[in-house]
Structure formats: structure tokens, C-alpha cells
């Protein structure tokens, strides 16, 4: 590899100390900003739930007719009759103290419920990301710099996959691989075999998108002068793509993956339903429909925290992948 590439130079031993300091500063600045993000998310949730039609008490009690005494008790206990500013401040105070309380509808401590649903969600997000990365990198590397019609073929396949509705793909996978071939279970999320189909259904869209973005990046990087230099030094085609070109193309992909991971945490509802999986998405869906504020807030916070952590991770990864960004950090 030697000192041909700028990225290598930038990471030269003499400058690594300052670079590490920049990284620490980057993380600190990000952390401070994250608090603002979390406050924003929490406030937006409060406002949106208030704006939703229907009073919380009515929606909560839609499940049956209760005596006025019970209704009054529920309203008093949840503070639903307090003026909005009071409700908002009480609500912020509780969150600041880490008191998320009990779900209005599930009647259990919110964190118990989150803790019960989160592991399955995280597992699915992790396998989905892994599959997305592996498949898109393979597809990207295989398709780049081939004849134009090969690239078009890949692009067409990707568009097709992106256009597939996830629930339809899920049902199709279930029908073929579970109901007909009996390879994988249709229900029961705990076993590794049970993860396969939901992961494929969930990763298909993101993998196709990322593969497309990656190919564009690779194509652009292949035009860069350093490719000519590297080739002139006699590097093999595979090594060129893997070590040099891919590194350039990975930058936009990293950002994209961070966003995908964040959105999967609360956004995998349909796959969770089709595959009867436990998950945060289903929890969030029913909580919003029931105006179950404590649960909605907790889900929003979990998702926001995940986004913040992912953003920081993406920044660190970018820092590792592209030394040019290290200067910008100062």
C-alpha cells in the first residue's frame, strides 16, 4: 500500500495524537447535541399526542363502559385534567428523573414492556444490517465496471426488490419456505431459524438501495486519478476494488446504513405482524392508537437514543474510513 494514497498519509504516526483528540471532541459535541435531540423528540411526541383527535380518557375507556367513579379515578391518576403546561412540565420532570411510569393500557411498568420487546427487535435489526451490508457489498463489487447491460440488469433487479411491498414479500417467503418447503418456522421468534425469513424480508429493500448507492460510489471512485496510480504500481483488480475503491464508496453508504438501522427499530411493524414476532414496532403501533402516552414516549426515547448512538457510530466510522474528515473535526 505504501504512501500512495492521501488517506494513508493523513494517518501517519506523527499526527495520530491530535487526531485522537479530535475524535474525543467530536464525540463530546455529539453527546451534547443529543440531549437537544432527545428533548425535541420528547416534546414533539407530547404535542402530537395532544393534537391527535379524541380525548385520552375517551380513547382509553373505549374498551368498555365504566362507572363514573372509575373514569374519574383514571383521569385523576394520569393527570389528564390538568392544564396542558402543567401536564407538560410534570411529564418532562418524570422523564428527567427516569420515571416512565405504567402503561395506561397494558397496566405494566413501561420499561418492563420495552425490555420484553427490545431484544427481539435489536436482534432482527442486527441480522438485517449484517445481511444488508454483505449482500450490497457483494452486489456492488460484482456489478461495478462490468458491461453496461450487466449493470442495468443489477439496477433493474434492485428497483424491482425496492418496489416489493414488505408484507407481500414476507407472505411470499412464508408460503414458499415455511408452509410449502417446511424449511423455516412461520411463528416463534426466539429460534435462529425463525430469524431467517423476517431478516430476508426486511433486508431486501435496504440491501437493494444500498447496493445501488454503493455501485454509483464505486463507479465514481474508479474514475479517480489514484486508481490509475495504483494500477500503474501493478495492483491486482480485486485488491484495487477491495482496498482502495471500496473505501471511497463506503462513505455515503455508512450514513445510509445508520439511518436504515434507526428506522428499523420502530419501523419493522409489518414484518413483526406477518411473522408474529415480538417487537417495538407493534408495541408502538398499538400505543399510538390507544393514546398510551407513557409507552409512546418510551418508544420514542429508545428510538431517539438509538439514532443518536448510530449517528455517533457513523461519525466514528467515517473518521476511520476517511482521514480527510479528521481535519474537519478540529
Amino acid at each position: 500500500m505504501a504512501g500512495v494514497l492521501r488517506m494513508r498519509e493523513a494517518a501517519a504516526p506523527g499526527r495520530s495524537g491530535t487526531a485522537r483528540g479530535a475524535l474525543v471532541r467530536l464525540v463530546l459535541v455529539r453527546l451534547a447535541a443529543s440531549f437537544a435531540v432527545l428533548w425535541g423528540a420528547v416534546t414533539a411526541t407530547f404535542v402530537l399526542l395532544q393534537v391527535m383527535p379524541g380525548s385520552t380518557a375517551d380513547v382509553l375507556l373505549a374498551r368498555s363502559s365504566v362507572t363514573p367513579a372509575i373514569r374519574a379515578r383514571l383521569v385523576a391518576e394520569y393527570g389528564l385534567d390538568d392544564p396542558l403546561p402543567v401536564q407538560y412540565l410534570t411529564y418532562l420532570g418524570r422523564i428527567a428523573r427516569g420515571e416512565f411510569g405504567e402503561s395506561y393500557v397494558l397496566r405494566r411498568p413501561v420499561w418492563d414492556e420495552i425490555a420484553a420487546q427490545l431484544p427481539d427487535t435489536l436482534l432482527l435489526v442486527a441480522t438485517t444490517l449484517l445481511v444488508t451490508v454483505v449482500v450490497s457489498v457483494l452486489a456492488g463489487l460484482l456489478s461495478v465496471n462490468r458491461r453496461a447491460w450487466v449493470r442495468s440488469l443489477f439496477a433493474a433487479a434492485e428497483s424491482l426488490v425496492v418496489a416489493l411491498p414488505p408484507f407481500w414479500l414476507g407472505l411470499l417467503l412464508l408460503t414458499v419456505f415455511s408452509f410449502t418447503l417446511h424449511w423455516f418456522p412461520a411463528i416463534g421468534s426466539s429460534s435462529p431459524a425463525g430469524l431467517v425469513l423476517p431478516t430476508v424480508a426486511l433486508a431486501a429493500g435496504p440491501a437493494a438501495v444500498v447496493a445501488g448507492v454503493l455501485r454509483e460510489g464505486l463507479l465514481r471512485a474508479m474514475e479517480e486519478p489514484f486508481v490509475v496510480t495504483a494500477r500503474a504500481r501493478g495492483i491486482g483488480e480485486a485488491a484495487l476494488r477491495l482496498r482502495h475503491v471500496l473505501r471511497h464508496a463506503l462513505l455515503p453508504v455508512t450514513t445510509l446504513l445508520g439511518w436504515i438501522a434507526g428506522s428499523l427499530i420502530g419501523g419493522a411493524v409489518i414484518i413483526e405482524i406477518v411473522f408474529s414476532r415480538q417487537g417495538i414496532g407493534r408495541l408502538a403501533l398499538s400505543a399510538v392508537a390507544n393514546k398510551d402516552m407513557p409507552v409512546v414516549v418510551a418508544v420514542v426515547l429508545v428510538t431517539a437514543v438509538a439514532f443518536v448512538l448510530l449517528t455517533i457510530t457513523v461519525d466514528i466510522l467515517t473518521w476511520v474510513i476517511d482521514p480527510r474528515t479528521r481535519d474537519a473535526g478540529r
Binding site: 368498555s64 363502559s65 362507572t67 372509575i70 412464508l174 415455511s178 412461520a186 405482524i273 415480538q278 392508537a289
Partner: protein, 551 residues
Amino acid sequence: MGAALRPATTTPAAWAGAVLLLALVAACSPGTAGTAGSGTGDASPRAGGTLRLAVEKEPECLDPHQSPTESARLLTRPIVDSLVYQDPQGKFHPWLAREWKVSADKLTYTFRLREGVTFTDGQRFDAAAVVANLDHVVDPKTKSLLAGSLLAAYRSSKALDPLTAEVTLKRPDSGFLAALAQPNLGIESPITLKGPASKLCAVVVGTGPFKSETGFTSQKGIDYVRNPAYAWAPEGTKSGPVPLDRIEVTVVPDNSARLGALTSGQVDAVTGLAPASVGTLKSTPGFTLHTTRFPGANYSYWPNTEKGPLSDVNVRRALRAGVDWRQIVKNVYFGVYDGAQGPLSASTPGFDGSLAPAYGHDPAEANRLLDQAGWTGRDAAGYRTKDGKRLTLRHMWSDPSVSNLAVQIQAAAKRLGVEIVEENLDGGTFVNRLLAGDYELIDTSFSAPGPDVLRVLFSAENIPTPERGISNNMARYDDPRTEDALKRALDAASQSEQFGVYAEVQRRITEDAAVLPIYSPLSVVAARDGVRDVRFNVDGSPDLSGVWLAS
């Protein structure tokens, strides 16, 4: 249950609708269900084995004292026994109470309890346990969503001796025994009632044929094991040891996934199949359909009798006669559902079958009634008008699964010159408009095990208003003579007297066309052929306690 053809519930609005529907379907008190044959015929039950069951819905909270949902009843019936047992025909039998006496003023019930019954946590069942349970349901701290309806008349209870419990009511309530027979007033271990209410939402301990120590996990399900000590099945049911060793219930919300899991042998039985899937299974060898009509109110259109065009009884009668409801039901639901024959489903104890002719199709009569009501003009689109105003009815709904049906009804109404405007709303807006009475038609079914449901649906006390909150008289029907009959029904000294009064109520409601009944929802258990003796409880939910596996 209005939810025929319910697809994967994929939108928040759909979810809200489903929840609300569930809610409306859920409250109330007991009566009867017709039991479908379960294709046994052969031999005595084979003991042992695990039944794997996939269900479509889950309770928010397992504890039947707190949660009014149909799924909480289904999932706790194997765990909790009741003082009295009500068979699917509506008759009462001894269960945890060996016998009972009602005082002449119908205010005091004295229960002699069965001896030697223990909870699965080792506690003894006695009169103090009965008192603790009833007090727990009415305790405001329990925030029971049921106490208001099931134990509305309850004053207090006390233990006269370890095996005698006395319950005092505030006013006579002929539905009290039926309420006691529901899992919602099932007897739980008193020690667990003192613990946190949140724990009861996962783990319920009773005296029933099964126990579940790990309890219910939301979005997943619940596993039961046989209670080896169980020897107090209700009288009049098949007694003897409980056949199954285990039951594993998984929540599988998607209809296609449930059907596929069954046909591919991943589960032994499923509940809540959509009509199209029921049709598919009928022609699939190796599987048996066990069905019963849900007792209670049919899936119906509820006309706003308080204001708007439908406050005119002639317009309501015209709509009832002018739309061929039965043909539409046949077309939309593949012949799986039966058309309605009255306000109540035919499987409800106390159902009056003599009123069926009033629900026949007669378009000529419908047009005559509309002319008589003054809707004689016609506008450019062919709709009837009066004083230049079009005859428009706003049908408000929030459950998309019924849209096929709604479209057919809309088309049939158009042939009469009546415009139905379909309004698909989010849950919150739906609730606001319901409370304000700002609609002409609402649709829902309301399953309940007896004719007491008529009070829930037609008493003026249950008209939803902003002050009262959600209530179930969606027709906003307010008729003094009906009100008087509903009071007499509560006072009835015997079940036959009670049924007589409720027959009168059904007649009044039919005369006033206070409801447009459409079809009787079905409780469906689809199982592989090896699953035997699938029966149904009085509320239409499947009874798992007698099920056995022939293979």
C-alpha cells in the same frame, strides 16, 4: 368480531378501529351459544399431548378482573373457575359453588361452596377467597373496566363460615348469576390479588384445569400445563381427568400466517379465521372446522334514532326492507356467515325467532315508506330529496375490514334513492363524533352470552355522550316503554320470566327498526382432524378444557 376478512392490521387507523370494535364487543354479561358438532363419535379421550393453538388477538392485560377483552376471557378460562357454570344453552350448574339460594327480595345470594378445592399455588379455596375476589373487582384501585357493567348492582359480600359466602346487591339483578359465570368474575388466588396489579396482567393463579406459571407474554402468547389436582369440573359437563398435558398458545395476528401455520402442521388449531380462509379449509382434507355463532347482538348497522333522517321510523324501516341484507352477506362472505334474523344472534339464550319475517326483503314496501316519509323528490343523481335536500346518510367506521360489505350496502341503498356516504375515520375522531351523536349509521357487532346485552345496547342510560363517555347505545334509542321493560327484566324472578320480558324488548326494537341487523359473526376453531372434542363456552369462545388429541 365484526372483523370478517380482516387483513393484517396495517395502519394505525385500522388498529384503532380494531381496538374500539374489540372494546364494544367485549363488555357485558352472559347467556348461550349453540355448540357445533366436533366430529368425535369415537372412543374415550386419549390422555396426554400438547395442543398448539394460534390465536388472532391478545389481551392488553391477562387479568380477567381488569381486562374486558374477549381474548382475556379465552386465555384465562383454562386457569380460573367460577362459582357457577352456565352451559351454552344458558342453564346454570354448580361449579365452585355446590348450591345457592336467592332471598325473596332478590337482594341476597347465599353460596354453599365446594370443599377440598385448592388453588394451584397451594392456597385453599374458601368463602374468604370469594369475598376477596369480588371486592377486588369493584375496588377502584383495580381500575377494572368491567366492574361498572358486571357488578353494577353489587353492594358487599361476607363469609358466613369457611364454606358459605353471602353476596348482597343494591338492587335486583337477574343477570347476576350469568355475570358470576364469566371468567371475568373467575376466582383467583387471594394472595395474588394483594400483589401488584401489573403482575396479574401476566400471571393469573386460579383453581382451574390448567395453570401457567410463566404467564402471558405480550406479542408472544402463553403456555399452560395440566393441573394434576383438578377434580372439580362443573356439573353437567364431561368430567374425568383433563386430557391434555399442555397447551401452547401463540399470538399470530396475520390471518394468512395463521392459516399457513395450520395447514403446514406448525400448529394444531387456530382461531379467528377470515371467511375466505374458512372457505379454503372447508375443501382441504385433514382439517375440521368447529364453529358456533357468537351469541349477543348481530353485526349490525346502528341508525341514529335521535337526529337526522333516521330519526324518522319510516326511513329506518324502509332501509331495513329495501336492502337485501342476506343476499349481500352471502355474496361478501362466501356463504360462511348467516344473515341476521333479529336484533340478537340466533344462538343467544332468549332469542325470539318469531320476529324473523320482519327482517325480510321488500323493496316495494321500502319505496312506499320513503314516499310516505316525504322523500318524494329526485335529484339529478337519482337520489331522493325532501324540500330540496338529498337523503344522505353518513356511515362512520374505523375498521377497514368491513369495506367490501359497506360498498355493497351503499350500492343497494342507491337503488332505493338513498345516498350512504362512507367515512373512514381515525380512532380519536370516531370517538368524538360518536359522543356528539354526529353520524347517521355506525356498524359493529356485540357478542355477549345472553339477552341482557339488549340493555347495554338500547337503554337510554347507555347513550354515548361527552359527559358519560363511550357507551354502547349507538342507535341513541330512547323509548320509555322499552326502558320500563328493561327494568322489569332486571327484576325477573326466573330465567323464563326474564326471557319473556326480553322477547317484548326484541319486539319493540323490531317495530321501531332501532337496529339494522346484518349477519351473525362466527366463532371459528379450525383444527387438524386429530384434535377432538372442541366445544364452545356460553360466550362463544372455545372451551379448551375437554380437548384431546387422537393423533
